[in-house]
Amino acid sequence: MKWATRTGCHVDRAACAWLIRRHHDPAAEFLFVDDPAEVPSDATPFDMRGVELGHHGGDCTFETMLRHFRVDDPVLWDLARLVHEADLADERYDAPEAPGLDVICRGLSMVRDDLAVLAVTAELFDGLYEYRRRALLLGRDPA
């Protein structure tokens, strides 16, 4: 399937692309547009204004997507808190890692194009997922 989002990928779009490939559509093909009107008719738009897979009720798109795909994996919901704070910094959640993740993603998008940003951040989210999975199992931060 084709998936379309805005150019200049930041943390929320990067996390969504990772989620789509990992849990929903392993063969997902991503394209990037500057204006919602440029989304091809055969692509599903996400993290754009006026689309179903966007911010809703103060949630970021990653949270909307977890709900949309009916994901109940507690590790992904745990990661959603981090993505939410890195994207919105509205202090809804306590996520001390968020400012660091925000800066890492911003820096990456300064030196890489969108596809490369998605490739690098996919590795990053794999690692974060494993870290948070172990943390939830142990009930404390893993060594």
Binding site: G8, R49, L88, A89
Partner: protein, 157 residues
């Protein structure tokens, strides 16, 4: 000199319920947006500010309001300066209150000073994230934090 490019959010929200209005106002404040007129707010344009106002526009729509987003620049240097100065004055006030708290904390016991430092550093980061035209108070606030931290180190050694 090149003019600052701005992103404007023009909005109208129903008067009742007041919840969405208050929530929007809080979020705009956290972003550092300046109110130009009733229902018209502005931020200097960058990838982040434009996106953040776009999401707030979605919320206005979901709350049953009307809104639109515009990219613009002031027609005269004086108008641009007036807007920037209002933003700098508002943020300077935030830095000053932080500075006062930092100074007041220097006479507190060590444990209390450590707690205050942690909280003030978090607040300073938050203020900086919405500071687009840093006033002199920005640097003073940073120095006050360093002084507070240095005082604690001296106690520890």
């Amino acid at each position: 000199m090149a003019r600052v490019r701005w992103v404007f959010l023009a909005y109208r929200l129903p008067r009742d319920p007041s919840g969405p209005r208050v929530a929007l106002w809080r979020k705009l404040r956290r972003l550092g947006a300046v109110q130009v007129l009733d229902g018209l707010v502005a931020l200097p344009l960058d990838a982040r500010t434009k996106e953040q106002l776009e999401w707030l526009a979605e919320e206005v729509g979901e709350a049953g309001g009307d809104c639109s987003i515009w990219l613009a620049e002031a027609a005269t240097a004086a108008e641009e300066r007036a807007l920037a100065e209002r933003m700098a004055a508002a943020i300077a006030e935030e830095y000053r209150s932080l500075l006062n708290e930092a100074r007041a904390a220097t006479t507190e016991p060590t444990a209390q000073r450590r707690r205050v430092l942690r909280r003030l550093r978090r607040e300073l980061r938050s203020i900086r994230s919405r500071d687009f035209f840093p006033p002199p108070e920005a640097e003073q606030a940073g120095q006050a934090m360093d002084a507070l931290a240095a005082g604690l180190e001296a106690v520890a050694s």
